[in-house]
């Protein structure tokens, strides 16, 4: 039963990550695109936890949700705000 719930959560997180990947790619406003990318990273971290890789979660969560959006927001602040 518990493995069924884990697989179900994994599938829901994977389908949600498709939605946020699509939104991050087509979004014109780059700041919103970075936020969508961070949400997609959160979904991936949940999938890693359910795939029994807690050490990956400990590395990926600060990198994917913390450092990537931070440096890309710095880049957006110094360059263009809008995708054409």
């Amino acid at each position: 039963m518990i493995d069924l719930i884990a697989a179900l959560l994994m599938a829901v997180a994977a389908v949600t990550s498709i939605v946020f990947t699509y939104l991050a790619v087509v979004e014109k406003n780059l700041i919103q695109a970075v936020v969508f990318s961070a949400v997609q990273s959160t979904m991936y971290a949940l999938i890693y936890f359910l795939l029994m890789a807690p050490d990956i979660v400990l590395v990926y969560l600060p990198v994917g949700v913390g450092i990537y959006p931070a440096i890309i927001l710095l880049l957006i602040k110094k360059t263009d705000k809008v995708d054409e």
Binding site: L4, L8, V25, L51, A53, D55, I71, T79, E84
Partner: protein
């Protein structure tokens, strides 16, 4: 019943990773702004890492497999027990390295994009191409004169 549903759900996860790969490739090739290309490239590398971890996953009947980092395998029977109850630890070790290397590569690309914006005043590859063609045209005229 769960023997039928769990492979289906895991297939959904696998196909989602592949679809994410395709969308990220579209973002890398079709969107003009370099910042958007960097965002799509991080999504691309994360999807590839997820596929590597997914390959190492193993279904243990009736329960969830244990994570390899919490199993004590220092006893003589340790490796056999590790292989019986946990997922494959090798892809996880590789992906841990790949995430850190990807962070370094992304920082390098961010710095290069900042320099491009400082020199040319734009991060759109279409405008950059126009600027590059304009410069080449002037140089050719100069050679003719």
């Amino acid at each position: 019943m769960s023997e039928l549903i769990i492979p289906y759900l895991l297939t959904v996860v696998f196909v989602s990773f592949v679809i994410n790969l395709v969308i990220a490739l579209y973002g890398i090739f079709a969107r003009p702004t370099l910042v958007k290309k960097i965002i799509a490239l991080t999504i691309f590398s994360d999807s590839l890492n997820s596929l590597a971890i997914f390959v190492g996953y193993r279904v243990v009947s009736g329960r969830v497999p244990a994570p390899p980092v919490v199993v004590n395998y220092t006893s003589p029977q340790g490796p056999a027990q590790l292989a019986k109850v946990t997922v494959d630890p090798l892809p996880q070790a590789l992906v841990l390295t790949a995430i850190v290397i990807g962070l370094a590569v992304t920082l390098f690309m961010v710095k290069v994009t900042m320099q491009v914006h400082r020199i040319y005043g734009t991060t759109s590859v279409r405008k950059l191409e126009r600027i590059e063609h304009g410069n080449k045209g002037e140089e050719d005229e100069g050679v003719v004169e």
